[in-house]
Every structure is written in C-alpha cells, then in structure tokens.
Symmetry: C2
Subunit: 318 residues, 2 copies
C-alpha cells in the first residue's frame, strides 16, 4: 500500500475497560457557575466510576497478521504518542495499520481520555508532570548544557525544531498508580483477547507485569526502551513467546539510561531462561544511529515500524 492510498478500515471505534465504582461522602457543597447562563449547586458527594482505561481501535479491511497490536504509552504520555510525530508526520498507528496490523491504542488509567479523579480519597498523593528541561535530557534529545540553545546530540533523529510539540503530549501522572494501571491494562487484555503488546518506557513495567497475569493472552511483546519490568518471571509464562527489545542511540549520555539498558539486558536474560525467543536491538550498533527515546517520533519512525512489523511477521506469534 502506498503511503497516500486511502486506508480501508473494517472498523474503528473505542471502549472503556476496567475500573470501579466509588462513593465520595462527607464533602461540602458549593455554588458554581458553569456557563454565563447556567449556575448550579455543586455537590461532590456521590457515585463515580474511576480507574478505567480508554482504548481506541482501528481494524484494517485486510489483516496481514491475525493478532492485533496493543500499544501502551509510557509515563506522562497518552495514546496520542503513537498517532502523530511532533513535526506532523503520521505516527505508528497509521504505519502499522498500513502494514496490515489491527491496532488498539490505550490511554491507561489516569491518562488522556481514560479520565482521572480529583479526590484525595482515591489517589492520595499529588501528581507530577515532566517539564521540557527534564524531557530534553531524559528522552536523550541532547545534554543539559545543550538545552538553552536547543543544541541536540550530533546526528539526532528526533525532530528537534518541533520539540515544543512533544511537550504538548505531556500529562500529569500519579506515581502510586502502578497497580491501578496494571489492573486497567489487564482489563484491556481481557477485552481484546490474544494480542501482541507494543509498549514504551514506563509502559514496560505495566505491560511485563500484565504478561505475568495474562500469559495466555499476550502472545508477543515489543518493548521500546522499557524503564520497568516484572519483579518475577513465572515458570512457563514465556515459553516460546517472541519478545523484541528496541533501544536507540546516546544511551551512555545519562546514568539512568546506562542503568536501564543494563536492567533490560538482565531481564531479557531471565526471559530467555524461561524459554522466550528474545531479540535485542541496539539500533545504533545495527547501522541505525541517532535515535532518541522516542523512535516512534524520530525522522526514521516509519522505517523502524517496517522493521518491527517484519519481525512480527517473521516470528509469527500465535
């Protein structure tokens, strides 16, 4: 399919998965005004539904592989990260669809369209949000010294001139919500059924833990620079399961990433012990230098999607 052909979809849509009903009680009411015309007595006490995940799906008319790809964002991001690049190119949602994969894009608990709860009775702590300066270094666009002048690492493939648009993706996150995120993602898997999970960064911990909870549903795993893993790997949970790790360039530029790649290698070794079929891509050592922490937004994003799709077809998770 050429990149400008129409996309034929068998279907697309969205659904919510998981969450729970809660009661808020004992709070004071207050008068509010919600447009210039309509005012109201606001009573926060009552019934709410919280901790659901939101999922948007796109099913191509002709599928190249029977298993859909479930895309799980990283920390402080939503599913939007998979569907646009900062410089306005198509994202991996469109790339994978055009390559014939059904795609499910998750806004997990607390993020984006999944909604969030403003009650400290439910999530006690304060959320954090990542600023541009921290993103610049953590996402390996450039060094801290390079930030004021927007001097990126030499050979950087991230669209640096559109860095501000990446910051529009950033949303608050609660550090205590990992278990809720795990439950939300499990509910997504239960609804989607057998699938390949493609996750990024903080999505690693959520997804690898979910694999341990739902080993029969997750038939293959693509981990883009995961920053977390499951604490245990149950015997038999990974047998013959294809797992792909993907890392970009400039990994030695921050101590955090030096450690995280080492942790990824260690986790990959544990998966091999449990008979997973592990593929480990350090792209810079494969003749593909220059990728940031966001290969799905880098200049060669479509090429990387093609390589990952080819890996899925070749490994044929079933």
């Amino acid at each position: 399919m050429s990149t400008n052909d129409p996309i034929a979809l068998a279907d697309f849509g969205s659904f919510f998965a998981g969450g729970r009903t809660v009661r808020i009680e004992g709070k004071e009411t207050r008068a509010i005004r919600f447009t210039q015309t309509a005012s109201f007595q606001y009573d926060p006490n009552g019934t709410y539904h919280v901790e659901q995940a939101y999922v948007q799906y796109f099913i191509p008319a002709r599928q190249r592989h029977p298993l859909p790809i479930v895309m799980l964002h990283g920390g402080g991001m939503t599913g939007t990260m998979w569907e646009q690049t900062p410089d306005g190119r198509r994202g991996w949602v469109q790339d994978f669809l055009r390559l014939g994969h059904a795609v499910y894009v998750v806004d997990n608990v607390e993020r984006g369209r999944a909604g969030w709860t403003p009650f400290e009775e439910i999530w006690a702590e304060a959320p954090i949000i990542r600023n541009a300066e921290e993103s610049w270094t953590l996402f390996r666009i450039g060094s801290a010294q390079g930030w004021p002048g927007r001097q990126a690492f030499p050979g950087q493939r991230f669209p640096v001139s559109a860095f501000d648009t990446l910051m529009r993706h950033a949303v608050p996150r609660w550090l205590g919500n990992n278990d809720a995120a795990l439950r939300g993602f499990q509910a997504v898997l239960d609804r989607v059924g057998p699938c390949v999970v493609l996750m990024h960064s903080h999505g690693g911990e959520v997804a690898f833990r979910a694999v341990q909870e739902r080993p029969a549903l997750v038939r293959g795993i693509i981990a883009i620079e995961p920053s977390g893993f499951s604490p245990e790997v149950a015997a038999g949970s990974m047998t013959d399961k294809p797992v792909l790790f993907v890392y970009g360039d400039f990994l030695d530029a921050t101590p955090l990433w030096r450690n995280l790649v080492r942790a990824g290698e260690g986790y990959a070794a544990r998966l091999v012990e449990d008979h997973a079929r592990v593929t480990f891509w350090r792209m810079a050592e494969m003749g593909i230098p220059g990728n940031s922490h966001f290969p799905m937004m880098d200049a060669n994003s479509t090429d990387i999607a093609r390589r990952i799709s080819a890996w899925v077809i070749a490994e044929d998770p079933a």
Copy 2:
C-alpha cells in the same frame, strides 16, 4: 454505504492546536520513584506547554460535502462522547463519516488528550467532576426519585442499563477556564479552516463565542442542547449562516432545562435578527419522543445523525 462495509479513509490522524509556554519557578524538588527500577529527583520548576487543544480527524475517501464537521464536547466530557455509545454501538464520528462528512473531534483545553496542568499558578481553583446522581437528573435520564432503582423516564431512549459506562466518560473540569477553552477552540478553527461546528451542551458557550471571533471560518452551526451562548452577536456575523438547534425530550423535568431551552429560543431569535437561517428542532414535537441530553448516545442516535446530515446537505453551508 451499508453500516458493515469497510470505511475508506483518505487520511486520519491528530494534532495539537494553540496553548502557550509557561515557566514554573520557586517550587521544591523531591525524590520520586517512577518504576520499580528507576528513581529520580523530581524538579517541577521549568518549562511547560499548557492550554493546547487536541484534535483527531478522519477524512473519508469520498466526501459528500466539502466542509468538515468539527465536533466539540460538552462540559466534563472529551471527544470520546462522539465515538461510542454506552451500550457499545458506533457513535456519531462513525455515523457522519459513513454519511460522507470529514470529521474533526476536539478534546478542548484541559480535557482528555489535550492534557491539563496540576499547578495552581496556572489554574488557581479546584476542578469539579460530575457524579452519577447529578448526571442522572441533569442529563434527563430520569427523576432524582428514580435514581436509586434506576427508573428512567417512560419512553427514555438513552441506554439506561449502560448508564455506568456513561460515567466512565466523565472527566474533571475547571470552571474558570472558559476563556482558555475559547482560545483553544479558536486555534482549532484556525488550523481546520472553513467548517461546520457541531457542539453539545457547555460546548455551546465556547463555540458560539468562537463563531463571533471567527465568523468567516464557521460556516454552519449545529447546537445540541447548548447550555451557553455568546453574550453579543456582532452585526453581520451570522448573515445567511445556517444554524440548527436540537433538543430532546423531558425538557420540563428540571428547572435548569426549562430555562436553557428558553435561553436557546431567545438566542436563536437574536441570530435570526442578524439574518442567520435558523432551524429549531424540539424533537419530541416532531414525532421523535424520548431523547435525553445525549442524543448521540440514545437508541436512535444513527437516525438523528442522518437527519442532521440531511440538514447540512440541504442547507449547504458555504
């Protein structure tokens, strides 16, 4: 096009529009742990991008009308409200696409994938979120007395047994953000260009004010039970512009809605004075009884979409 034929899209994707860069300063740093593997010193001080809108668009391969439809949610909702019904049917996004309209779905400032800011320096007040009890009555599903047993109004077309799924759509909102929402929506219009705006409830105030700011871009307006309007109607801003007001049933069941319909009639009269071509549908008086505040989710949602599409084609905004 039959409802189960594949949908051929010329394109789809998303973008952010509007917003501004802010600096946060003078806050304390704190140690955080963001996965079981990765810990970090969190410094909230720095640069953020806030108050952008998120827009997802779907362009059909064959368009029946040249102007796209821009869908703007109501208060406490995101663009999700247009793409699924609580009982799992397709939403108006798919209906209007299948009817040949290009569709732009907005998550306006602070909602869904547009993100939000947790800093009181930017949005000082506390957000509110609507509970199930208030939604039950305000959205005219049933009376307050009917809530405990989920007894809806007789003839109710809202999928009452799936009411809890509607509550999963609810997200927090800031009552002081109407001006930011207006700016965000204007940025959306500037990016989309000439269009027809379809809005719901609280989206009325945002959209009608935006029409006054961008009269040349908004060529037609579909107001689904608007709860707010523009304070002024500038001379010449509405000349020959088609405007459709749509109201469901049970309007006398709450004083708020009695007043809001009256306000809608008054505003419609002002638009007529400025030579708008106004159509006013009280559906219950047109042989279509039983609709709630969410006709896009009611059992006859696809039929209503067809009627609105036919109105667009007949009025032919240009």
